[in-house]
Subunit: 162 residues, 2 copies
Amino acid sequence: MLIDHFKDAFRAHPAGVAVITAQGRSGPAGLTASSVSSVSVEPAVLVFSLASASGSAGEVAAADTVVVHLLGARNAPLASLFARPAADRFSSALAWERLPTGEPLLTEVPRALRARVLSRTAVGSSVLVTAEVLEVLSPAEPDEPLVYHNRTYHRLGSHSAI
Amino acid sequence: MLIDHFKDAFRAHPAGVAVITAQGRSGPAGLTASSVSSVSVEPAVLVFSLASASGSAGEVAAADTVVVHLLGARNAPLASLFARPAADRFSSALAWERLPTGEPLLTEVPRALRARVLSRTAVGSSVLVTAEVLEVLSPAEPDEPLVYHNRTYHRLGSHSAI
């Protein structure tokens, strides 16, 4: 009962959309997350949570450094791709490259933050991760942002402003 | 340079809007936060961060229990009120009441979660808080959600869906 109401409440709570990548033990890994938020400006620290510690989430959770891509509206297909279970995400069809430091960078995203993991805290079966931002990259042109709400992607712009 | 790019990146990263209240040492306290996110479903745990440990943020950070109000589009004036420094927030003009457990509840908000603080972690001058949800309340009618992006409030709905 409480659990259902909790899920309903957060399904209706909108969030910006990110894809978080890392160089995993067996190759590039990544997943879609709608839990990225800034915690502190000095030092520049962000937080995100992962709903499990297995699969792609486990690879990302175990990495020393990650790349947090903040998606634009035109990146909705990327959000869907990286949300699908067990998808072959880094196929030849994906626009990505490796940074000099080894992490995968999605090159069609307007903004990406390379960050060093500071802490990992288990909460139930989830992991809460804080990370200090080392570099802010702008792989592609600016875009209106992508928002996730009630299992639907939305585009913000002058049409949605109050 | 890094700090400016970090701030720009998160200013452009959209977020749902919440007002977090608590019974402070000297009376009801509350503030607007765009950092609320769900971490775990079982147990039902959410996370938020506070940019300082003084003023209203300090009162909320120190409380044992808080009420996290997830705002609808019609609550944009509440978001502005609770974001203003040193505003007299709980004046007679505000629609609020006290829960049987003592915390202030804003009665014009579609959804509110009463939660017990589990952890407080200092990150720079900010505080990262996790809290376990005890009760999900529906003080007012459902509404389209409120989103904050580039210092502007937005309303989601069929007009913004991709």
